[in-house]
Amino acid sequence: MAEFVQLLFNGLVAGSIFGMAALGISLVYSVLHLVNFAAGDFLTLGAFTTFYLATSQHLPFVLAVILSMVIGVIVSLILEFILWRRLRRSGAGMLALFLVASGIAFILRQSIALTFGSDSRRFDLDQLTTYEFLGAQIARAQLIVLLCASIAITGIALFIKKSNIGKDMRAYADNASLAAVSGINVDRVIIATWTISGAYGALAGVFQGTVQGQFTNGMGLDLLLAILAAVVLGTIGDAYGALIGGFVLGVVMDLSTWDALAGGIPSTYKPVVGFAVLVIVLLFKPEGIFGVRARKI
C-alpha cells in the first residue's frame, strides 16, 4: 500500500507538470495549427529566470516566479509579432512552421546557455521535509507543486470555459473563418493563446526545477517527448485533454515500476511504458482520449 501511494503521488506530481506544459502546446495547436517544438525550452527559460531573480537578485521566490511567467509571456509575444504572424500571412505550411519552431527551440536553448551559463542550478528551497501518509513519504516541495499546479490547472480550465476571451478562443479553434466573420477579435485570441502558453510553460519549468532539485539548460528538451505524448494522448488541440493526458502519462509511468504489477518494470523503461500506452490508446482511439471533442479546446 505504501509503495502504491508513493508511486501514485510521484506520478501525480510528474503528471501535473506534463499537463501544464502540454496545455500550452495544445492551445497553440488548436488556435494556430502550430506544433510548438520550442515549448520545452520555455520551461527551461522559466526555471533559469526564476533562479536568477530569486538567487542572484534576491527577490522573494513567489515574485521571481511571477516575473518569470511575465518574461515567458513577453518572449512568446515577441516571437508572435516578429515571426509567427508574418509566417502565417505568407502562407507557411505545417512543415515550414515545424522547422522554424525547432530552430527557435535551438536558439532559445543556446541563448539561455549564453545568458545564464551552462552550469546546473538549484532553487534555494527545502526539498527534504517530508510528511508520512499511509506509509509513503510525501515531500513538502512536491506537495506544494501538486497543489499549486492543481490550482493553476483548475483556474485555466475555468478561464477557458467561463471568460469571454476563453469563449472566443474556443469559437476560433472550432471554426476560425466563422469566428472571424462573426466579430471575434482574432488578434486578441492569438495574444491570449500565446500569453497562456508562455506563462504556463514558465510555471511548469519552475515546478519541474523544484521537484528535481537541480536543473540544467537541457531540462526542457529532456521533457519535450513526454509533454508531446501527453498532448497526443489527450487529443491534440484539446486543452482539457492535454491536462488529463499529462496526469495519465505521469501516473502510468510511475505505477509501472510497482512491485505488485508482476515485479514492476525497471525504472529506465518508464518512458517506454508511457509511449506504449500512447500507442495502445491511439490504436483504439486514433484522435486520443478526447477524440470526439477534438479541436474544441
Binding site: E3, Q6, L7, N10, V13, A14, I17, F18, A113, S118, D119, S120, R122, Q127, L128, T130, Q137, A139, Q208, V211, Q212, G213, Q214, T216, N217, G218, L221, D222, L223, A226, D254, T257, D259, G264, P266, S267, T268, K270, P271
Partner: protein, 419 residues
Amino acid sequence: MNKKRGAIVASAALAITALFTSSLPASAAAVDIRIGTVQPMTGAGFAAYGTGLANAAAFGVTSVTTAMTAAGVAGSCKMIAQEDSVSDAPSVATEAATKLVKSDKVNFIVGSLTSGASLAIGAVTAASTGTLAIASAASSPALTTFKDNDTLFRTYPSDLLQAQALVKAISTAYSPTAWVTVGAINNSFGTGLANAFKKAWLAQGGHIGGTVLWNGGAASYDSEAAALVKTKRDAFVFIDYPDSFAKLAPALTRTKKWKASTTFMTEAFNDDSAVKTVGASFMNGIRGTSAKTNGTSAAAWSTAFKAAYPKNPGTFVDGSGFDAAVLACLAGISAGATTAKALAKGLRNVGGINGGTAYAWNELTAAVKDVAAGKPITYNGVWGYTKFDKAGDPAGGAFEVWSIKDGVIIHDDKLDVKF
C-alpha cells in the same frame, strides 16, 4: 664527359652515405603532426574536467614542441583546434570529431572525457584513414572491445581495474561477504562499471542486493530512489555523474532510508565542483574510488601546469590529457609517417610496450632525441606508464580511496591500490 664524372661522384657519395648510415639506428622521417581535442568545455558537471583536459593537452603539445627545438629534431607537432563537446553528448562529440578529421585533417584527437563520447569519436576515427583518438578519461570496458581498427587508445585505466579497487575498498569497510546494492546511470560508463563490479564482488564471495539503473534526463528520480532503498544491503555503490546524482540525492534523502555514509561512488565525484553541484549536505560521508596519478614528478608537473594556465580549473585527471598529447606527438615522430597504422605502431613504440629507456614528462628533450633516432622509449608520464596493449588500453593503473567530510574531499594514501 662532365656528366659522366658527375654521375660517378654522386654514386660514390650515395654509397658512402649508405655505408655510414647503415651503422646507425634507422631515424624517423620528419613529419608535421596535427592534433585536436574534443572535450566538454561547457555543460553541467563536466566543464571543469573537460577544460582541464583540453588545457593539459595544449600544454603537452607545447612541451614537446619546445623539446623538439632543443633537440634539433625536424618536423612539428601543433594543436590545430579544440572542440567543445558540450556536456559530452555523443552526438556533439561525433560532429566535433568529424570536423577535426575532415576539415582540420588532424592526426590525433585527444578526448573525450566520458566513455560514450569517446566511443562516438572512436567510430569516426575507425572510418578515417589517418586519425587516431586517445581518450583521456574514458574508463568503460566497452572501449576495450570496440571495433575501432586500432584507432582508439586511452591513457586512463579501464573500469575492470576500478571494479577491483571498489571491491577492495568495500571489503575493507564492511566485509568480503557484505550485501551491496548497485545503482548506475544507464549508459556505457554506468552499466560497464556496474557489471564489472558485480562480477568481481560475486567472485570474491560478496552478495548483490539489487541493481537499479536510471536515465540521465529523467523527469523525476523518486521511483528510482524507492527501488534502491527497498533492497537488502549493507552498502550502496552508485556509478553516476554529478548532474544526475544531484537530482537523485534529494529523492534518496526523502525516502529516509538512505545514508550517505553507506555509499561508495567513483571518480566523477572526486572533485570540488561535483560536491558543489550535488550539494555538500548530500555528499558528506560518501566514500569512493578514483584512478590517480602513478607517474613521476606529478607534483612538479602540477606546479608547471598551473604556471602555464593560471585560470585552469584543475581536476585530478588533468595529467592524463597532458600524457595523451605528449604520446601523440612522440608517436608521430616515431612513426615518421601519418598513416593510422604507422601512428598506432608509433604509440606503442613510445608507450613502453617495446621497452626502451624510461623518460619522465620533464625529460622530453632526451626522449625526443631517442625517438627521432628510431629507438623505442618508455614514456613515464604524469599519469603513469601506458604500455598500450592490443586493444589500446594502458597495461595498469593506480587507484585511491577518497571520502567527503564537511564538504571537503579527503584522500587517504594508505588505501591506494596499484595494478
